[in-house]
Amino acid sequence: MTENNKHLENLSEIRTLMEKSSRFISLSGLSGVAAGLFALSGIVAAYLYLPTVMKSGEYYKAAFTDNGEINFQFFSFFIVDASIVLLGSIVFGIYFTVRKSQKKQQAIWDNTSKRLLINLSIPLVTGAIFCFVLLYHGLIGLIAPATLIFYGLALINSSKYTLNDIRYLGIIEVILGLISSFFIGAGLLFWAIGFGVLHIIYGIVMYNKYEK
């Protein structure tokens, strides 16, 4: 019996080492919740600041004035708004993940986290450049769907290097992005679902599954 226990212990140790050495398992669910909350407040801020534009259902048309010039108020607001959301998500995301990695005794900056970041960045940077291309051609309405699609692809691509559950979040984001590219006027609503609601739900599920 003790012999059995020894083998069982060995097997579980093997499994832990395989996981720990190849996947970054310290990604915290709370990071997802924080990102979701920031995204939702960013969208609420947009509705408060630009109420008429947002309610028209064709928010993206406000990017240019009637004589075809760039609407600076619109752009500067969205750039500031998006930067705060992004920065807040990253800061809190790192905070909760560092906290979890200390609990798990996994190094925060090692091969697994580097690999995760590289594989997350490739589709993400591609998407960001592509969004600038859309902006360049004046296709503002397609930017929101494109961010969802590329973000989803980034998650799918990085799921091999962290908790596998992130794959399903990625697939849903891609589907959501594709649907929203047909309903261009509702881009921000899809954004709220994709970056806000989904992150919060995913974060809570992950927290309950791995961190309780």
Partner: protein, 99 residues
Amino acid sequence: MKTYIEDLNKAFESRIRLGIMSILMVNDSVDFATIKELLDITDGNLASHISALEKLEYLKVIKQFVGKKPNTSYSITKQGRKAFTNHLDALEKLLKNRA
């Protein structure tokens, strides 16, 4: 009834060697410091187990320079992968039969 005990590989009796092989199974190559950190053991201890596994040709040593610093990393060989898989299979069968 076959006991499967003879299928267990003697080379993997130590927990540290099991650990080294587990890490190498799922990574292309891993450097000394990372293995040391994951297993939480001393340099000397790790080095002796690594050289034992190297002698069996279960792992190969890759020496290279990162900038000016020498960096030693390890990767699993074909024989190593086969031997470790067989060992895991034997462990599994052993546990199933006893349960």
